[in-house]
């Protein structure tokens, strides 16, 4: 596989994070290459979400550095991560239930146009068009785009969250337990979508408890246990059994 010769897209080196008395992460490294799907697994409280929240700017690491395409970067807040082309689809979607689909897709990055050359006004028609395109690319039936997000199904809400993440052609999308609120059919559609993203040049970090899904789409897999990295291998080098043993620490 050519990924061994490439310069990594994302490198996290020596990441440590404590929350009060809890050592959430201890000296963790993560590498992500271009055009790949990295599965990130581990038991509850292994540190997967924390590590990703550090990458996407929600938390700040106590120690460690992050490199994007070889350059060291600081990610202090979510907008820093987005500016670097890193987006995240959260487990509970992190959508505003009281706003409609388009508002949620553009929340925090609203597009404006100049009114009479003086005042900046929301470019509602522009956002609507781009938002609809982003959703339709995901091939999910949304019903009315004016619907408030709270009235949408789990799969539709996730489509909104994914559309928000793909709006500005990110380099990396982190998906935190994306199958959690989905039907079986929706999960299949999601896995197809993830393969499509990879083909279009977006790398994915995929956190999930559903190990068969990891084997279905990932190129490499990384295992965390109690805040430490215990394995990083190509998917072809592991089996379901060996992964479970690594997660639980039985070897």
């Amino acid at each position: 596989m050519s990924s061994l010769e490439q310069r990594p897209l994302v490198e996290m080196k020596g990441i440590s994070k404590t929350f009060g008395a809890i050592n959430a992460l201890q000296n963790v490294d993560l590498t992500l290459y271009n055009d790949e799907i990295l599965g990130l697994v581990g038991d509850n409280a292994a540190g997967k979400s924390t590590l990703m929240k550090i990458l996407t700017g929600v938390h700040k690491a106590d120690e460690g550095k992050i490199y994007i395409e070889g350059k060291e970067v600081t990610v202090n807040r979510p907008s820093d991560a987005r500016a670097l082309g890193i987006e995240m689809v959260y487990q509970d979607f992190a959508l505003a239930p009281n706003l409609d689909v388009i508002d949620n897709i553009f929340l925090g990055r609203e597009e404006t146009k100049n009114l009479g050359g003086l005042i900046k006004v929301l470019d509602k028609s522009g956002m609507r068009e781009r938002g609809i395109n982003a959703i339709q690319a995901l091939q999910v039936d949304m019903g009315q785009f004016d619907s408030l997000v709270r009235f949408l199904s789990g799969g539709q809400q996730q489509a909104v969250a994914i559309a928000r993440a793909t709006l500005y052609r990110p380099k990396v999308i982190v998906m935190d337990e994306p199958s959690a609120s989905l039907s079986v059919k929706a999960i299949q559609r999601l896995l197809e979508l993830m393969k499509r993203f990879k083909e279009e040049g977006i790398s994915l970090i995929f956190i999930t408890h559903r190990l068969p899904d990891i084997f279905s789409v990932s190129d490499r897999i990384m295992v965390l246990r109690a805040g430490k990295k215990v394995a990083e291998k190509k998917i072809t080098e592991v089996t379901l059994d060996s992964v479970i043993k690594l997660i639980l620490g039985l070897t």
Binding site: T56, R77, A94, N98, F106, K120, L122, S147, L148, L152
Partner: protein, 325 residues
């Protein structure tokens, strides 16, 4: 079947309009004077000023906070502008400007407390506390300024200033014209700017706002300044209308503000509601008060009746919301 935002809002406001009309008919029958030109003029003049206050409250509640200070800010700023005009003989425009500046300072204090002195958590508790403080301290200062005496601002001394509160232009009470301007600006800010989206976003889901990169602190800061300035403007207009500033003016108005907002369909949890709903709410609240007074209902009963109607109206609102879900 997904219900659109518009369908829901339309339902709440049609109900309110019907209620207001029904109320006017009822009071008109019980006391024909209620519907006289003079009476209606007075009602709408004062409702406009209360409306400016209630719109300020709407902003805060939309963003997920609460503001208990409108009554005391109205009292304090009313006294301050009166003092500037009558004691210090300051020119009217400058007096208004300085008083509004006081409003900015009060709002900045509220914003500072809720953003810096507490983390970006749901802000109901910090905003409740800091604005409660203003409610108490503001009223105290208003009383202290003149040891309880009113300040007169007569039309002879201040023709232009008093005209702002008591005058009529284009057939409308001047405060109503101010209300229309304020409403237009607020509607523009809430529905046509990114700032408005951020206010609704913060009120709807703090987590969504945080991961979207919204500057939560800056938005909240602005919201508290806007509300305090609007409260101050209302205080100024009341002094202009009454031709006097009283230390007790505005007592209890925070309840009118919050009730109007709740009746108007603005969710007290944040993120939902419209300024139109609030304005209908304040019209309803004040019409009930005025109508009860004019039909000679005992003052003791007025509060009870008003309270019952308010609880009923808020209950209907909440029930509607639950049913829709």
């Amino acid at each position: 079947m997904p219900l659109t935002a518009r369908a829901i809002i339309r339902r709440i406001e049609t109900g309110l309009i019907a209620a207001v009309l029904a109320l006017f008919v009822l009071f008109g029958i019980l006391e024909p004077q209620f519907l006289s030109v003079g009476s209606l003029n007075n009602i709408f003049r004062f409702v406009s000023i209360l409306g400016i206050m209630a719109i300020g409250e709407t902003f805060v509640i939309l963003s997920g906070g609460i503001d208990l200070s409108p009554g005391s800010v109205i009292g304090l700023t009313g006294m301050v502008v009166g003092g500037l005009l009558s004691y210090f003989k300051v020119q009217w425009l400058l007096a208004i400007f300085l008083t509004l500046l006081l409003g900015v300072a009060i709002g900045a204090w509220h914003g500072f407390f809720t953003t810096k002195l507490s983390p970006p958590m749901p802000q109901i508790a910090p905003s409740f506390l800091v604005t409660l403080g203003t409610l108490i301290v503001g009223r105290g200062v208003a009383q202290y300024l003149t040891r309880g005496y009113p300040i007169l601002v007569t039309p002879i001394d201040q023709p232009i200033f008093t005209y702002l509160g008591g005058g009529t232009s284009l057939g409308l009470p001047v405060p109503l014209i101010f209300l229309l301007i304020v409403t237009a600006i607020v509607v523009f800010a809430l529905y046509f700017t990114p700032f408005g989206r951020h206010v609704f976003g913060i009120g709807g889901s703090l987590e969504a706002a945080r991961v979207s990169g919204i500057d939560i602190n800056r938005t909240r800061f602005s919201v508290y300044i806007i509300s305090a300035v609007l409260f101050s403007f209302a205080g100024i207009l009341i002094t202009a209308m009454l031709n006097a500033a009283y230390p007790g003016t505005g007592s209890g108005y925070e309840l009118i503000a919050i009730s109007s907002v709740a009746i108007g369909g603005v969710s007290l949890a944040g993120g939902e509601g419209t300024p139109y709903g609030t304005l209908l709410g304040v019209t309803l609240v004040w019409s009930i008060q005025t109508g009860l007074v004019m039909t000679n209902v005992s003052p003791y009963l007025t509060d009870i009746i008003t309270g019952i109607i308010l609880i009923f109206a808020v209950g209907v609102n909440l029930y509607n919301k639950i049913r829709i879900r």
